[in-house]
Amino acid sequence: MAEPALEARGLSFRYLEQNRKNVLEDVCIRFPAGKITILMGSSGCGKSTLAALLAGLYPENGGIVTGGERRLFGRLMEDYTIPQRAQAVSMMFQNADLQFCMETLRQELTFCLENISCPPEEMAARATRAAAELGMEDLLDRPFTTLSGGEKQKAALCCIFLLGAKAILLDEPFANIDPFWAARIAQMLKALNRQYGTAIIVIDHMLDHWLDAFDEIQILLGDGQVCSGITRENLGDYQSLFQAEGLRWPYGATPAHTPGAGEKPPAIILEGLTLSAGKGRHQKEGHPLLLQGAKALFRKGEMTALMGPSGCGKTTLFRALLGQQAYGGSIRIGGRECKKIPQKELFREIGIVFQNPSNQFITQNVLQEAACGLQGRMVKKEALAGTELEKQAIALLEEFNLHRFRKYSPYMLSQGQQRRLAVLSILAGKQGILLLDEPTYGQDDAMTREIMGLLRRKVEEEGLTVLFSTHDARLAAEWADTCYVFSGKELCREDHGIHQPGV
């Protein structure tokens, strides 16, 4: 068998000495050179930790290896210097914003070449050549702050390509970008694999972009076991394993949600709505228009999905609904014009769960967070003990399965738990309308089902109105009663794949 590109033998790892359990326990895994391998596993099983270990970033940047060894193209990881290692394996991260230390791609490419001690006289030509090869000459001198998420991920790939890494590890590279860019970057990676034999190892909870090209799927199970040898030919045999691990099965139609009978009354009506980019409660000149004369109707007691590419205005529309963004035309909430509703009243009516839930915690304790949600104001930890409010908060945490974390800081919870806590604390406020910005961001299938199922229950039992933005067409089909797509500065209702402008 050919030398694997990356290999872990009996690898055990924990983040802190005092942790009772290892995050990874006796893991044995091999990623072959020159192949495209997908690494899957349920949320929190240690995929990202394993990737960081195999990229040589842990334990140097945190944690302790308590046993086993890592090999990179047959050599022990420890035998590589950092620049040598970068030329063997490089990693692309989930968050496109946090990958660059320079201002433009040209500077960043030069920084990479300096790192591997490239002779200065060759640098300019090599950087330009790498950018040209991946079709990115036009991005070279644009500041990163002006690039979209997809463009930034493309720029990150350009750096990896320039370093000449023989293996690329990607940790959920498409979590923050829309399907258009995800497909383009996946194409580029496949081309690198075909042309240069670069080993591609991707952590992804969606197989959609890789179905036509992957060589093997490996699933990291609990207790250090790895299920390997899943290929395109025998994938069908593993459907039950996918389900058992809470992973999304890529084939077969999702059971689409069938809206209940009877027209429900409108909760929000948009008419002739004009929105432009740029934050602010006052319309500014020069910002591009996101919506022009858009019409839509969101019904009470329904879940509505908002879809469209990154930057199309989904979050901006949410800001407008919350009275934080200037708009033209009309937004009527419960029959009243949004602009005329006092802000406090608006916030009593509408709640929002942010894309990154860690942005919205207002206390340093899970129980307190729930209590604040119930009370609608800050509640001191000391003032909470033994009160009726504490009992209510605990009951709420139990309902959301967060009870055992009540003494934790919200920031110590996993991504999925953080999102549940965010939803919980907003729902506790008893607002009738809930906005969710990308609720599936960074979640596996099981976690997504849990959150969406919970919302569905609230919608059906309590008549909650839910509006959620997503890139994921399957999610929208499965959970939403109605779906609107941002298309050509309008909102198009999508019924069974047919666009219908407006209501």
């Binding site: 201002e103 030069t110 002779p119």
Partner: protein, 244 residues
């Protein structure tokens, strides 16, 4: 034409810092005004700095300077009245004790510091500063690039803080513009980012202590040395010979 950007950043910083130290011993309003004016002329006519950015800084600073003038004025007025009342007022120090003059001394000194600070910050690209720190001051790349990376994160931090404040508002909890709680959320995220960014840099082969080559090495020219010596010297002469 040579611009302010072509001066070696470390030498430019040295000249600015030395001048600022000398200015702390200065009492002459004229010198303060001259330093500020020189800074503005250099930014406006001998640099590639964006003029709008200069204005953005100057407007709030103008308010602070005015407030300082009033503070100095009021304070001196009271001291003067008190010394007349107690009969301890001597004839010699009349000019220097004038409330207007004291107000001017206080406010123009800050103005001079502002002029020097803006001259340096608006005409020095962050990347050049970091290169110069590594080449002239022998600062380790780990430290120098760390500063640069943090510098580029600033817009994200501002955005994060805005989101955190918004979260409070939406939950119906009012917090003032200087409330500390939103900073906590933003800070937690910043720490997480810095770890992420450090790993991304290492993944691109960055070894903070190891060997590396440089596409550009900022050299030291005779003009840089002259600037380092001449600018503080001029300020020193001003301090010695300018009376008011």
């Amino acid at each position: 034409m040579k611009t302010m950007e072509s001066i070696n950043p470390v030498f430019k910083m040295g000249a600015v810092l030395l001048s600022a130290v000398i200015l702390t011993f200065n009492h002459a309003v004229i010198l303060n005004l001259l330093v500020f004016a020189a800074g503005m002329v250099l930014i406006l006519f001998f640099s590639r700095a964006e003029k709008r950015r200069l204005l953005k800084f100057l407007l709030p600073i103008g308010l602070i300077i005015t407030a300082l003038f009033i503070t100095g004025y009021k304070n001196a007025e009271q001291t003067l009245l008190a010394s007349f009342a107690t009969g301890t007022h001597g004839l010699g120090g009349l000019a220097s004790m004038s409330p207007v003059y004291t107000g001017l001394q206080l406010s123009t000194r800050v103005l001079a510091y502002v002029g020097l600070g803006l001259l340096f910050s608006l005409t020095t690209p962050a990347e050049d500063m970091v290169l110069s720190m590594m080449h002239q001051l022998r600062v380790k790349p780990k430290f120098a690039y760390g500063i640069l990376a943090a510098f580029h994160l600033v817009p994200n931090i501002a955005r994060e803080l805005e989101d955190a404040k918004f979260a409070y508002k939406v939950r119906g909890i009012s917090c003032g513009p200087f409330a500390l709680q939103p900073f906590f959320a933003a800070m937690v995220n910043c720490i997480r980012w810095s770890e992420n960014l450090a790993m991304a840099m290492e993944s691109k082969g960055f070894d903070g202590d190891g060997k590396r080559t440089y596409a550009r090495i900022l050299s030291v020219r005779p003009a840089d040395i002259i600037i380092l010596i001449a600018v503080p010297l001029l300020v020193l002469l001003g301090t010695l010979f300018l009376k008011y």
